[in-house]
Symmetry: C2
Subunit: 181 residues, 2 copies
DNA sequence: AAGTTTATTAAAAATATATTTAACGTTTAA
DNA sequence: TTAAACGTTAAATATATTTTTAATAAACTT
């Protein structure tokens, strides 16, 4: 290989590394460890990879790659690919950021809505009990009402978040905010 | 205090605790530690708190409260309040979830867009150099072009994310997705 | 069916993060 | 101007997380 060829190859690698670094650095937002982030960013420029290739590329142990891949699969940033002939499992990075965005945030926001709405429901039941309890003093009733109203008010947000999730899932959001402009 | 009054008070606390638990549990999404999450959730039901009150309420050290408060301030979930007369600093939780949502995600997404777009810009410059380099073999040029196109393609997403941020900041998103329904 | 390759689980080690205690600096009140 | 109150920083401790090495399990080959 000529020297200039080598230089060109190195320059391509350098270019990729800049992007890999940036992607990895911003991926803390997705709640993954730096090494999982690094792995995803590396896979972003590959067609597909086996655990052994990952391990070689990142110079880490195989179990470590295995856990990182699993974590990335959970948030749909990596999917298993079927490769005929090879006994090794192969994995590919989700390269469509819109899909990653959708899966990750919808998953997280739905969890947030579900958990909090459930808790709010139960809490409001308790508060109603207190409000209706004839033994409660006016001061206590006022207190219970205050919290009840605060919770009731917060539901507006969770409903909105649910709507946001629905509009992302259905793709309707792209009518409002087109992908291309 | 009568026994039934005591029972009512306890029931109100129980109701609050259910919500505090749920809020704290889902706050990992916002990248804060469990204790910061716990603190925020506790403050959600208070008008305002001093560091000493926090420390008493959560049974933790004052420096710990200090760090948690700072972290929560960074993502605008807590703000300092001015309290005439008191030497102690007072802090209040942001109780409007729409505002927390806006500040947090806009901040994060803008950072993501900025970092990645900068890296993409630099990487594409490198790749153009390689493509234009007369010493590059056709194979290398093809490779560089492939990565260039992949990066170019990904910009669509970052532009969209930027638009999303803008529509949240301006409030225009609420024309598409109203708060009340 | 025995042996090999691959992935995962378990235990141990290493590392990073969170928390506390102690010290410091600043402000306020006496 | 001294002492107390308050918040923060620094160092040390405790805790949690990540990573590895070693062991196990599963799948395939011969």
């Amino acid at each position: 290989m000529s020297e200039s060829t080598e230089r060109s190859r190195a320059k391509i690698e350098e270019a990729k590394d800049k992007v890999i670094g940036a992607i990895a650095e911003t991926m803390d937002l997705y709640g993954v460890t730096p090494s999982a982030a690094n792995l995803y960013a590396t896979m972003y420029f590959k067609d597909q990879m086996t655990l052994d290739e990952m391990r070689t590329e990142l110079d880490m142990s195989k179990p470590s790659m295995s856990t990182s891949v699993r974590k990335l699969q959970e948030i749909a940033m990596v999917k298993k690919t079927f490769t005929r002939g090879s006994r090794k499992h192969t994995y590919a990075a989700e390269k469509n950021f819109f899909r990653s965005f959708m899966v990750f945030y919808c998953q997280m926001w739905e969890r947030e809505v579900k958990m909090n709405m459930e808790a709010i429901g139960e809490a409001q039941e308790d508060l109603i009990d207190v409000i209706k309890d004839s033994a409660s003093t006016p001061e206590i009733v006022a207190d219970a009402k205050k919290y009840y109203d605060q919770l009731e008010d917060s539901k507006t947000y969770y409903h909105w978040l649910d709507d946001l999730v629905a509009s992302i899932r259905s793709g309707k959001i792209f009518e409002f905010l087109p992908k291309d402009k």
